[in-house]
Amino acid sequence: MEGVDLKLFLLVGAVLFVCGVICMTSKRNGIGVLIGVELVLNAANLNFVAFSRYTPLGLDGQIMALFVIVLAAAEAAVALAIALNFYNNHLTIDVDRADELRG
């Protein structure tokens, strides 16, 4: 992989991250928010792996990425369960309806 700079990977990760953030902030659909989270996590993974390739992080970066993937899966499972529950309770998935925590 000569010729591809670390910066480029980081920039891809940045785009992923920002897209994830935008998803999280703009989607009213709970699932959309989850999708944003996945994007953000994936951005992190990409950075980890890139660092493991270009910096002394080595394998550790990849291991971290693995953990993140696993945790993201778990998170997705739980989040979906929550989303279902939410849907059961509110008969909608619009997160703006979930304002019980309003002060």
Binding site: A14, V15, N29, R53, L59, Q62, I69, A76
Partner: protein
Amino acid sequence: MNGGQVLFGIFALLTCGGAVAVALTQNVVRMAFWLIVSLGSASGLFFLLNADFVGATQLLIYVGGTVVLLIFGVMLTTSGPLLKIPSSPGELIQSAVVGVLFISMFFFTVWSVDWEHVANTARVHDSTTDTVALQNDTTGRPIGMAFLGVRPDRDLGAAEGQPLSTGYFLPFEIVSMHLLVVLIGAAYLARAKRQITTAESRSEVV
């Protein structure tokens, strides 16, 4: 421009494009689709980075597991009118502003760091074996070893008298347990509740 660069370009574009599409589309199902595209391309990038095991895992778990899960979620929760829950333009603008700010922050950061220096200084005391393993696209075994608590990739070429590196046995076990718990929890949460009964009882009381 070699093949690696071309591949990187393709995958990078797909990844970024998918992500942007996810962000822009309002339809959940489409979002899920574009997510698959984005994540799949990301695994390609992983391969490009010689992280074969991670890339495979990405494809398997993420694209194959997580996204399917999401789609299940979409299908379970999304009856007709909820397929699209449009955001207000103000929110969109707000999100866009945040996004722009973030992206500019990242760009600024990425460009302001001297990555060569980081890589070079690293290389001075870098263990050769580590690099070798990465170069050879055979990360499955070292990663497995690391999960079992040994780091031959580091310790074999290390200087005499240096303490042995630690592996990820304990985190691995914890994550296993965590997964188990999470799955049980998710199953518990997701099971159907008779919340109507409570509503009835409530009305009866009233």
